[in-house]
């Protein structure tokens, strides 16, 4: 096993806080190689990747926030790279709250690059957009031939009994050759139409890419099968536990295994 963890605190403010996770087959066989890195301005939080386990097939990594997240001016960049035939599982120890930003904003950008036959499973915990927060999130997934991804996303608009902050998020997934698979944008905020989310304050999504959920899957949300393969299951809820899509998430994990 190769494991590298580096930290490079610097003071040049304005840089984003960068997190990198890269796993690949080890040249001589055996456990996969794992490269983990977190780096950012000294006065900003970082998301630190922590290795939980690894074997010859893949690794499990926990993304641990260090410092208060997510505040005005924070710029989080997370880059995930999974080598050919390797499986990466990402977990989060807790949800994230984007707090009031007093007119400023924060960004949260994720790029996932999956080589041939690579797989990623990322069980996202709730992302809460508190009143006064202004957040732009982007997720870009590039799938090589035979690559699969299972992503869970739970967006909560406002803490309990609170109005929503402003959220703009983009998800773009492309297949081999850059062919578009899924491209979705959602803009929601305090002035949004009730009809956008049907009055819900929680948007739960299970996204399977490069793999389609079984036909007989029970519907804990609305199911959307994509033209290029892959399934999105979405639940719009008022209570968090009603939008976690436990059944669909289990099936998505199996589908990409």
């Amino acid at each position: 096993m190769t494991l590298t963890i580096t930290t490079t605190p610097t003071s040049d403010a304005g840089r984003p806080s960068r997190t990198q996770v890269a796993v690949s087959r080890a040249a001589g066989g055996g456990r996969v190689s794992v490269w983990l890195d977190a780096d950012g301005p000294a006065d900003r939080p970082v998301v630190r990747p922590v290795l939980l386990s690894s074997d010859e097939h893949g690794a499990r990594v926990c993304l641990v926030p260090e410092g208060a997240l997510l505040l005005a001016g924070d710029r989080i960049e997370i880059t995930i790279s999974v080598g050919s035939g390797v499986r990466l599982e990402l977990v989060e120890p807790a949800g994230t709250v984007a707090y009031a930003m007093d007119g400023d904003r924060a960004t949260w950008d994720v790029a996932i690059d999956l080589d041939v036959d690579a797989a990623v499973v990322w069980a996202g915990e709730p992302f809460v957009v508190a009143a006064g927060a202004d957040v732009t999130r982007s997720t870009t997934v590039r799938l090589g031939v035979g690559a699969r991804a299972a992503l869970r996303e739970i967006v909560v608009l406002g803490r309990h009994g609170e109005a929503s902050g402003r959220l703009e998020q983009h998800l773009t997934a492309t297949g081999p050759g850059g062919r578009p698979v899924l491209s979705e944008a959602l803009e929601v905020g305090p002035g949004s139409s009730r009809l956008l989310l049907g009055g819900a304050r929680i948007v739960g999504s299970v996204i399977a890419l490069g793999a389609t959920l079984p036909e007989s899957a029970p519907a804990d949300g609305t199911r959307f099968d994509l033209d290029e393969g892959g399934t999105v299951v979405r639940a719009l809820g008022v209570e968090a536990h009603r939008a976690t899509l436990a059944t669909s998430w289990g099936l998505a994990r199996e589908a990409v295994a």
Binding site: T172, P180, S183, E228, L236
Partner: protein
């Protein structure tokens, strides 16, 4: 050959709901929305939301498709970009079904169009509208206005069948929505790249499209 009709007249022709393109079978998801509980006071909001999201995607797709047709580029890339931005299989199926009816009409109106061959039976409505608009000599902005206006009128006329409304009130909503149609057209008219097509989703409208596709009790096809 006679001079072709001026494009404003052809735009009126294409925007006319009396064309045999099965427009009366569509509610643009207003029917499942009313089943859910959308009230009379929310129809104008529904129209505005569509113009910012799903209809914006369709209008931009049509504009980019017409650019591809006129520039001799592969329209399949535009179809793929549209499909990736239309996660609801019910909405994709409806679009393709509407496209088939429209394509039959375009084959009769403009049989000489060189683009009929490259848009097969699986084409989306936006792409077939682009073929029609190209034959009619429309500008990209006209085509975007056509898509926006048609969506507003689809919701408005369906509203009269679904909700107790005064037709004149509904006409007022259409008039009020024209500024948003104009703004949409201005935004998307310059687009040429499939990747530049906006991806604005409307999760509840997409969910309504799916639930409506499997219900047996409905006035409208979609």
């Amino acid at each position: 050959m006679d001079r072709p009709p001026p494009s404003p007249l052809l735009l009126m022709l294409l925007a006319d709901a009396r064309l045999p393109t099965a427009g009366h079978t569509q509610s643009a998801q207003l029917e499942p929305a009313t089943v859910w509980g959308l009230g009379v006071s929310e129809v104008a909001d529904f129209i505005a939301l569509r113009l910012r999201t799903v209809t914006r995607v369709e209008a931009a797709t049509a504009v980019v498709a017409m650019h591809h047709l006129r520039a001799g580029l592969d329209v399949a890339e535009v179809e793929a970009a549209w499909a990736a931005r239309t996660p609801s299989p019910a909405m994709r199926a409806t679009s393709r079904q509407m496209a088939r009816a429209l394509r039959r009409l375009v084959c009769r109106l403009w049989p000489e169009s060189p683009h009929l061959a490259v848009t097969g039976p699986g084409a989306s409505r936006a792409v077939v509208l682009a073929v029609a608009a190209d034959s009619a000599g429309l500008a990209p902005r006209d085509l975007a206005m056509l898509v926006g206006y048609d969506d507003v009128q689809t919701v408005a006329s369906a509203a009269l069948k679904l909700l107790p409304l005064d037709p004149a009130d509904v006409a007022c909503w259409v008039l009020d929505a024209l500024a948003a149609v104009d703004a949409l057209a201005t935004e998307v008219a310059p687009l040429t790249l499939p990747s530049a097509i906006p991806a604005a989703g409307a999760p509840q409208i997409e969910a309504w499209a799916e639930s409506h596709a499997v219900t047996s009790r409905r006035l409208f096809n979609a």
